[in-house]
């Protein structure tokens, strides 16, 4: 053990006395606080801890563990306790201890040793414990055991690890499956040979429908088998649809992966834009335009239609711009930037600007990306110009980036505002950057060049030398564009050489004077004279420019400067810097005519005084967008390790049908047609379809699962998929054909009495002869359950019962009809029965029943009232009044009464179900009660429990029901799938999760009794 993790932070071991949780200290000998780590004390303490570990009490063991962890944290060596821990804690059944923090401590301890001391072999001692832990009934223990096991880096356990991962990948608990996904990269880095097997596991986990797993498995995919893009095809639509429910970190990973995927599979949505010349990139050069025009011409022949899957991705990621997590917002922003048609990219601007209010680190990263985007798509951020104004409290790096963005955003219309803003900055903040920014504005926008130049010249009189220097450099570049106009500025600058000391600025001034010496014929030789005097004390960069100036003057005005030049060249000849000596020698040969001088010296003047092209002041963010935005590489403007290039758009789109979700081979053989083939509007139906029937686990994979613990669930889901397969088969068929087949199926079956209505209904629908019958006829009226509102004793002879009549309440369609039956059991008449003082939860409403004026003795009367329960099971409280008495009563609806039946076809049902996935879907396994194993009983029980109507279904193993909640009209879909021997699966899809949950309970109860 050579590394002591905390040694430098804790110079003396005594300092950490207070850091152990207080409870640990009190129950134990006091030596932790005063542990001077002197031999005797520490060994005593270790003995103590060993004793505690040996004890029978879980609490003592836990204490010992916590103290060991605290010791490690404080940088003390606890390695000699390792055997004791392994012996006493690991060999004990972890499942016995039921304190998670115990497991965590143990986990941490082991990981610590595995990571720090590489005592891998010792860790092997505890392997049997983990293997037992992997079979534990508690999912957290299974997950923890897998986490530790996969962290041990000893090659001999690779097979054990592989087995454990495979088993965990088919675990019932999504949490364990998630951990399995995390373990995959660990095993891969330990033994890359396992890649093929791991890819199988990844393939299987990619098919997982749970949102918890999706992010982690994509992460594993990225680390292990990035190139196997074919694995994504089948899961693409599912991933898109699940995205919104995946946890934040997973979203980032998935979006980044899908960006690259989309770049390989879809066509560039912007190719035919240029052809119409509507909005071109401002900085496009001719060549590119031509190329684009060609492509566009091609595109015109074959008009671009966005792949529906491409659209699906854009549509499903857009809401995530509203995420609270900046990383998610950025991921979506880069996706839109790289994939969306130009017209749609604008939506990301607002979200990115919002991020500018976050922590400064977030701002830093976002501004870097905005800077790149503003170069390509300036218009996008123009409305948010003011959000990039600098505040005096901004850290310098943020200021610089904001200036960069402001400069990029400058154009003819807003330049005056921006310049005014810049002028305020000059007065108060990091001025040198401002000068650069002004210079860039000046070069980009010709109209304001003079204004900018004047501003910069004003800066020359600033007292801060850095500002002056920076201004000089910028002015030099500006002047180069039109020197003849500005000889007075050059003169002004020549004077500056006396004061200004910053080498870069001095060099710039000298270059300017040399270059334009004909504009300042009198001053230039004088400057050279001064410079020759101070030559030896100048910086190298200045010396080079002095030589340069001397050479140019010699060529133009040799009379005045011949001697000076020779003096300078002589000084340079003996300079310490070889570069300067070289330059001097070279220039001397070139300009001073000797008898041996070659052909070149004839051209000296041309060489030195050639017209130089004006420099382009460019943003450092130009062309950074070849890196994927939001990536580390983009931020650093250099390829980081493991960076994946963003692929170019393909010339022609690869076969889009690869993303179609497979149906079973046998079915395909029958001659089914996909939506895409028939040209049906895929965008409408595609996604829903895939949700219902996606992720067929490959048969071979599920067949090879040897896990005992998950066998039950495995087989369950397999049979479920079989059914799904057969359903999608029907979906694929032509509507007519399917209906015919359905009809046949329906008729083939022995028509049971209870089902007659349904069959009839179906026939009617198929023939389109009649409109669907009103739903009430569907609900079996015999099932109406009555509830007691007022008992005859408490009601002093008046008893009231009520039932939910399941009739539409005509005065208000959003109300549930409650039918009440009043019985007068007394011997006298009751008068003026009415209700008062309705107390309701907010949002609820009641339509009172009309007053019953007289209820004679022994008679019964009925009345109907309506209650809008707002789709909740809150009770409606009110008073029932007679002429003499008042009774407090309340009506509470069972959840099943909060809906009304709707009629859906099988197709509609599947489509709707596909939209209510994820959290809106609740699945329960159950064993049907002995009495309700047939379809008839199931239908009866379900419709009794909830006011739903049956949806026709091709499979006789499934019963489907549909309804809408009364108030909000949210769909409620119920599916009961039966299996052998009374096993069944109940699935409820409902947008209102609460209703869904409660409904599941009620139906479960009804079906299991």
């Amino acid at each position: 053990p050579s590394i002591h993790p905390f040694s430098s932070a804790y110079p003396g071991p005594g300092r950490g006395g207070s850091s152990l949780s207080k409870d640990a200290q009190t129950s134990l000998s006091p030596d932790t606080s005063s542990s001077s780590s002197g031999g005797i004390f520490s060994s005593l303490r270790h003995d103590d801890l060993k004793e505690m570990l040996d004890s029978n009490k879980d609490s003592l063991k836990l204490e010992a563990m916590k103290r060991i962890v605290a010791m490690i944290a404080r940088g003390k060596n606890a390695s000699d306790l390792f055997p004791a821990v392994v012996k006493n804690v690991a060999c004990k059944n972890i499942e016995v201890c039921n304190e998670y923090s115990f497991i965590l401590c143990f986990l941490f301890y082991l990981l610590h040793f595995i990571i720090y001391f590489e005592q891998q072999d010792l860790a092997l001692l505890s392997i049997s414990t983990f293997q037992r832990g992997l079979k534990d009934p508690n999912q957290l223990i299974r997950a923890s055991a897998l986490r530790v096991l996969s962290s041990i880096r000893v090659t001999i356990i690779v097979p054990i690890m592989m087995l454990a991962i495979k088993e965990a990948a088919s675990d019932m608990s999504p949490y364990v499956r998630k951990t399995a996904a995390h373990a995959i990269p660990k095993l891969y880095s330990l033994d890359p040979e396992q890649k093929d097997q791991l890819i199988e596991v990844i393939e299987k986990l990619l098919a997982d429908k749970t949102t918890l797993v999706a992010g982690s498995v994509v992460m594993a995919f990225e680390e292990v088998c990035l190139e196997r893009i074919d694995l994504i095809h089948k899961n693409y639509r599912k991933l898109c649809n699940l995205l919104i429910d995946v946890e934040e970190w997973g979203q980032v990973v998935i979006i980044n992966m899908l960006t690259r995927y989309a770049r390989t599979q879809f066509l560039n949505p912007n190719i035919n834009k240029t052809f119409y010349g509507s909005d071109e990139d401002e900085d496009e050069d001719e060549e590119e335009k031509e190329k684009k025009a060609e492509v566009a011409a091609m595109a015109k022949r074959k008009p671009y239609v966005m792949d529906p899957d491409h659209r699906l991705l854009l549509r499903n990621t857009k809401p995530l711009l509203q995420s609270r997590n900046a990383a998610v917002v950025m991921a979506v922003a880069q996706l839109y930037f790289h994939l969306a048609p130009k017209a749609e990219v604008g939506v990301i601007a607002k979200a990115l600007v919002r991020l500018l209010r976050s922590h400064s680190e977030v701002q830093y990263v976002v501004l870097q990306n905005v800077a790149t985007m503003t170069i390509k798509r300036r218009g996008m951020f123009e409305p948010y110009l003011k959000s990039f104004y600098i505040r005096s409290t901004d850290p310098t790096q943020i200021k610089v980036l904001k200036l960069e963005v402001l400069t990029n955003l400058a154009n003819e219309t807003n330049i005056s505002t921006i310049l005014r803003e810049f002028q305020t900055y000059i007065k108060s903040m990091d001025k040198d950057f401002v000068a650069q920014a002004i210079g860039r504005c000046a070069t980009n926008i010709g109209e304001v060049r003079d204004t900018c130049l004047n501003g910069l010249v004003q800066l020359l009189s600033n007292r801060d030398e850095l500002v002056v220097a920076e201004s000089v450099v910028v002015i030099k570049k500006l002047l180069q564009m039109q020197p003849e106009k500005h000889s007075d500025i050059i003169k002004h600058m020549a004077k500056l050489t006396d004061n200004i000391q910053v080498p870069m600025a001095r060099a710039s001034i000298l270059w300017l004077i040399g270059e334009y010496c004909e504009h300042v014929p009198k001053i230039a030789p004088d400057v050279l004279r001064k410079m020759a005097k101070s030559f030896t004390n100048e910086e190298d960069i200045v010396k080079l420019q002095i030589i340069n100036l001397a050479a140019k003057l010699y060529l133009t005005n040799s009379k005045q400067t011949k001697l000076l030049t020779q003096y300078v060249l002589n000084l340079a000849k003996y300079d310490q810097n070889y570069d300067i000596r070289d330059r001097a020698r070279f220039i001397r040969q070139l300009i001073v005519p000797t008898e041996k001088s070659g052909a070149l010296s004839k051209y000296a003047k041309k060489l030195f005084l050639a017209l130089k092209p004006a420099p382009v002041l460019e943003s450092t963010f130009k062309d950074r967008d070849h890196f994927q935005l939001g990536s580390l590489s983009h931020l650093l403007n250099a390829k980081a390790g493991g960076y994946q290039e963003l692929p170019d758009w393909p010339e022609a789109a690869p076969d889009p049908s690869v993303r179609n979700v497979e149906v079973k081979e046998s079915v395909r053989a029958v001659g089914t047609v996909t939506y895409r083939d028939t040209g049906a509007p895929w965008a409408l139906q595609g996604p829903q379809k895939l949700e219902g029937s996606s992720c067929p686990r490959s048969d071979s994979a599920s067949g090879s699962e040897g896990s005992s613990s998950s066998e039950g669930s495995g087989s369950g889901s397999r049979s479920e998929e079989t059914e799904e397969g057969s359903e999608s088969e029907e979906k694929e068929e032509d509507k007519e054909e399917k209906d015919k087949k359905k009809k046949k199926k329906e008729f083939k079956k022995p028509v049971q009495e209870s089902e007659r209505w349904q069959t009839l209904l179906f026939v009617k629908l198929v023939n389109n002869a009649l409109p669907p019958p009103s739903p009430q006829t569907i609900a079996p009226s015999s099932a109406l359950k009555t509830y007691e509102l007022l008992h005859r004793i408490t009601g002093e002879g008046l008893s009231v019962e009520y039932c939910f009549s399941r009739q539409p309440f005509s005065p208000d369609a959003n109300m549930v009809a409650v039918q009440m039956e009043f019985t007068n059991n007394t011997t006298s008449d009751t008068k003026n029965l009415h209700m008062e003082e309705v107390k309701l939860q907010s949002g609820m409403r009641v339509k009172e029943f009309p007053e019953i004026e007289l209820l004679p003795a022994g008679e019964t009367a009925t009345a109907v009232m309506g209650i809008d329960f707002c789709d909740s099971t809150q009770a409606a409280n009110f008073q029932l009044c007679t002429n003499t008495r008042k009774f407090f009563v309340s009506i509470q609806p069972p959840v099943g009464e909060l809906m009304r039946p709707v009629f859906l076809t099988e197709n509609e049902f599947k489509k709707e179900q596909g939209q209510l996935m994820g959290m809106n879907e609740i699945t329960e396994k159950l064993t049907l009660g002995v009495k309700c194993r047939n379809e008839h009983a199931i239908v009866q029980r379900v419709t009794a429990a909830a006011n739903l109507s049956r949806v026709p279904c091709g499979s006789d193993k499934e019963c489907r029901f549909a309804g809408r909640t009364v108030t909000s009209g949210s769909l409620v879909l119920v599916t009961v799938a039966t299996r052998d021997e009374g096993a069944a699966q109940l699935m409820v899809n409902c947008e209102k999760m609460v209703i869904g949950t409660m409904l599941v309970k009620d139906i479960l109860l009804a079906l299991t009794q």
Binding site: A73, A327, Y364, S392, R463, Q841, T997
Partner: protein, 420 residues
């Protein structure tokens, strides 16, 4: 992804380190220290530093640098956001996030870090889930454990992560069911010398403290939801419902959380609740400068402006200031040249003012920069954007909760630009 984490305090000591994959020598932090030395201000340390073998991504919170070590390409925001989440979690657990608190709770810190990252990839970051797995230390529990000598052994293992609602723990029970919502708005504004607004925007949040039994399903509606066109949500909010009906519908996490944050941009007219009249002049050749500043309320809808604090960074040449406040107290730090004036509450009848002279370094020339004036204030019971909650309804549970809503407006980055 995240390889290791180092915690560095203000004096440049590493006081905690945690590794997830393998040990990275702490010498990697030398690159960070270099950058720290170069930076003039603590917040000027670049968040991303490239070293020959690793990349360091850091955040600065509570004067502690959280430095994550990265080995390969990963979105930088991913790491930054995660580090901030770690800090938030610490704060949630220990009340504060200081070096002392972290050292005192080192075991819990390790447990948390172990649970939040697995092999460098985030595992559980939702506070509700973490709290179920790892109990936060409380004074009460520590005391009970001290007296009885017991620990928390015997409690049930959490069912964690099983729930269909991943952000809410299961089995929540309260005797008093309460739901409180705080609408807090901050105004960021830059006012120029003539008193006109250069930019003004409102950054608002709705923080919630929900203590409700069971699985309540809440809906929150606004009188004027149109104001909220730029919002970000807690993952619990049903986005579709918001799109369609402009109603916040959600199953809340248990305890404190930020339901949404919103941004009212400068395109909308933003009311500015205070104004400042100031006249700060230096004369060439004179060693004296004049300082005159008056504050007043404006567009406050009759609500009092409280806790007003004015601060200004005076130019370097100022040696001292002798000022006379009409109310409150002022301090001038001759080293940092920071002038702060604690005004308190603004009385509209008698406007607070601060007048006097500043003495300048003899012989120094007139400072060419004029100080920016930063203002802080609070206004209770008002959301300056005019946002109003209409109603809060609860479904799915039968009890009647106590509901409360509070509004507050604060100054965010509220600056008055220099006089000329």
């Amino acid at each position: 992804m995240i390889h290791s984490l180092f915690l560095v305090n203000a004096s440049g000591d590493i006081f905690l380190e945690k590794h997830w994959k393998s040990v990275v020598s702490r010498s990697v932090c030398d690159y960070f220290f270099e950058a720290q030395e170069r930076a003039t201000e603590p917040e000027n340390v670049p968040p991303v530093i490239s070293t020959p073998h690793h990349y360091l991504i850091s955040v600065l919170r509570h004067r502690i640098y959280f430095v994550a070590v990265i080995q390969s390409e990963v979105p930088p925001l991913f790491v930054i956001e995660f580090l901030h989440r770690v800090v938030d979690t610490f704060q949630d657990y220990f009340g504060v996030c200081t070096e002392a608190a972290i050292k005192d709770n080192v075991v819990v810190v390790y447990e948390l870090l172990e649970e939040m990252l697995d092999n460098g990839f985030p595992l559980a970051t939702e506070s509700n889930i973490l709290k179920e797995l790892i109990k936060p230390p409380t004074i009460l529990r520590t005391m009970v454990n001290t007296i009885t000598g017991s620990t928390n052994v015997g409690e049930q293992l959490p069912t964690g992560q099983l729930s269909v609602v991943p952000w809410r723990r299961t089995g929540v029970k309260y005797t008093n069911n309460e739901a409180y919502f705080d609408v807090v708005e901050e105004i960021d504004a830059i006012i120029d010398k003539s008193g006109s607004t250069i930019t003004a925007e409102i950054q608002g949040v709705i923080d919630a403290c929900v203590k409700l039994t069971g699985m309540p399903d809440l809906t929150l509606s606004f009188m004027n939801p149109r104001l909220l066109d730029d919002v970000s949500f807690h993952p619990c909010v049903r986005f579709k419902r918001w799109e369609a009906e402009r109603i916040l519908s959600f199953i809340p996490p248990d305890g404190n959380f930020r339901l949404l944050s919103y941004h009212v941009s400068s395109q909308n007219l933003v009311a500015i609740p205070v104004y400042v009249k100031h006249n700060i002049t230096f004369r060439e050749g004179s060693s004296q400068g004049r300082f005159d500043l008056t504050l007043g309320p404006k567009q406050t809808m009759g609500k009092a402006v409280e806790s007003v604090l004015v601060s200004s960074q005076l130019p370097r040449g100022v040696l001292n200031a002798s000022l006379n406040p009409s109310q409150g107290t002022y301090t001038f730090d001759p080293v940092t040249k920071l002038l702060t004036w604690d005004v308190g509450k603004i009385n509209p009848q008698k406007l607070p003012s601060l007048k006097g002279t500043m003495s300048l370094q003899a012989g120094a020339s007139k400072p060419d920069e004029n100080p920016t004036i930063n203002i802080q204030f609070k206004i209770q019971q008002m959301a300056i954007s005019g946002l109003k909650v209409n109603r809060l309804d609860m479904y799915g549970e039968k009890y009647k909760p106590f509901k409360g809503i509070k509004y507050m407006t604060k100054a965010g980055k509220f600056q008055d630009l220099p006089t000329q």
